[in-house]
Subunit: 347 residues, 2 copies
């Protein structure tokens, strides 16, 4: 009897740890990782939040990080592709900033190895924030005297109003933009009632259809890789899919445009599937308007599977279980603007 119980216990615990090791379903960690040289602190988060919301270091003074990464909603801009300074329309759909902290590389083509490096991109992109140089960006910030105490609180005294520190602060703030308590996460952590019957069906179909060959891990953006190492995939893989022409999916060269390497043509960072409820329209070009349609497009172009509408609806219902809740955002007070910061409209 005692032996039997012990064996039963062994089997049970063995089964459990086996299940844990093999389970494809991982909840999002409650804290985002930070690099050794930029530990997250409250002072950095406060400064980073101010910089994130401040439009004054775009050339026209009208475009902030927040403009295309609206943390009041999906962390993107609900447009097919974004609009920067002077009404210029960019070429790609704004990726959500929610949970970007968990990605090992940033941008659709993975060209930035960290949030810190990513933050230095858009300010000097001529279509996005349009500043002539990063020196110009930090010059604008330094010209707003009220910022200095916040830099000093975050980075100590001395010559701390630097672009590197500004980027570190923005990255620190972005590491707080995570959603680890979605219905999906609660389900995986043991709350069996967190998902509806349709969502559980969708979860099974998501797995059996093969979506997880790419969309795996806690963010569904691929396996855990070291910071700076991206998880890329060819998209579209099956170019005969009718969706390729319908949604002009091969028009953009993908990672090749960043690296110049021919084999990177059509390669893309596998994006997260979290918070899709809030990030329509979909794909790198924002051409696909509804989530069930996006599911069908991906099944067709990546797995050569033609999904029935009901299957797509079930999978979409499961994907919606990975949305929110979003941490409450406090609105920073921004320091006053000197009158000569931004000119007469010619910038």
């Amino acid at each position: 009897m005692r032996v039997r119980n012990a064996i039963a216990l062994l089997i049970l615990s063995g089964a459990c740890s086996l299940a844990a090791a093999q389970s494809p379903w991982q909840p999002l960690p409650k804290v985002a990782p930070a690099p050794a040289d930029n530990p997250t602190t409250a002072a950095k988060v406060e400064l980073g939040s101010m910089l994130f919301f401040d439009p004054r270091f775009s050339s026209t003074g009208t475009v902030s990080c927040f403009s295309c990464h609206n943390v009041m909603e999906g962390g993107d801009d609900h447009r097919p592709t974004s609009i920067g300074v002077h009404g210029q329309v960019g070429g790609r759909n704004a990726p959500t900033v929610w949970n970007a902290a968990f990605h090992s590389v940033q941008f659709w083509d993975g060209r930035a190895p960290s949030l810190e490096e990513q933050a230095k991109g858009p300010p000097v992109n001529p279509i996005e924030m349009g500043m002539p140089s990063l020196t110009g960006v930090i010059g604008r910030i330094a010209a707003i005297p009220g910022y200095k105490p916040y830099f000093e609180r975050a980075f100590g005294s001395g010559d701390v109003v630097t672009m590197d520190n500004a980027a570190k602060a923005i990255a620190a703030y972005e590491r707080t933009l995570i959603t680890p308590d979605s219905a999906y996460d609660r389900f995986v952590r043991g709350d069996e009632k967190a998902l509806s019957a349709q969502q559980r069906t969708g979860m099974d179909k998501f797995l059996s259809t093969g979506c997880m060959s790419c969309h795996q891990g806690a963010t569904f953006a691929g396996p855990a890789l070291p910071a700076g190492t991206g998880f890329f995939m060819k998209f579209p893989l099956f170019e005969a899919s009718p969706y390729v022409a319908q949604y002009t999916l091969t028009q953009d060269q993908g990672r090749e445009a960043a690296t110049g390497v021919a084999t990177d043509k059509g390669m893309w960072r596998v994006p997260t599937l979290r918070n899709l409820t809030y990030t329509a329209p979909y794909m790198h070009n924002g051409m696909v308007k509804s989530l069930p349609e996006a599911v069908k497009v991906m099944a067709s172009t990546q797995l050569n599977v033609s999904l029935a509408d009901s299957d797509a609806a079930d999978i979409a219902a499961f994907l919606e279980s990975m949305s929110g809740p979003f941490p409450k955002q406090t609105m920073p007070r921004l320091p006053a603007t000197p009158g000569d910061l931004i000119g007469t409209g010619a910038e």
Copy 2:
């Protein structure tokens, strides 16, 4: 003894009410007035805050009330003149939304009789938010299903997702954007230490120079007038002032452009002087960059007075005492966007 006391009391109370009646210095009320048909409620303020921050009812989905009225800073956009959809540059400096609730008319030319009517202007201004019609605006809002419960909470059941209700909600939110506890207000309410010696000197000079012939009342935007009745003044009044050419002050026709009445040429609503610390650059065209310079321009063009730099600095110091503190803004969560709300960039 009893009679003497009574007389003393009479004298005392007489003196007090006389002082109160004659004092030119009025603190800002702690609550903004609301029209009888739109009493301020928490549910309206919540909805109004969401609409105020939502860029999705501009044609491109990129411009919200908040874009030009940044309540994280001066309630304006720190630009000489504002930028709307497609990078278009407007003709006038964005007036601050802080304390606009106390104005009897809105816009630089006073063409809107209420905050409710003002809210319906920018969405259909082709340069600002660029929507073809107010029907189109409310159509966009109605197409975001998550808004409906908020309209119902604020306005009851039935056909409540209307443009009039949206405008009422925005106005209700704006009535919370007030700054009644500035150093100036605390001084006028009895805290003699609230102003510095220079600010008290500036206060005397502000009065003796004649600034209060226009900039009077609690907002320094003129006498209390019934809602819909504006307090207008010719600007510049002394056209021989050298500042007129220097800052192109007569290029804009002012109120005439709104009314078509020749006598309205060069007439402007007298703007508030509160929160000037945060609203550089100055004037209807945003051409004047510093506050002391703005003081000199006004003295010259309106009073034919050439102020010494030290006088302008003292008056500017006094004006700065009317800044903030700003009520903490909570960031609303905006409902999710249907994928077909905003098109492919051609709007």
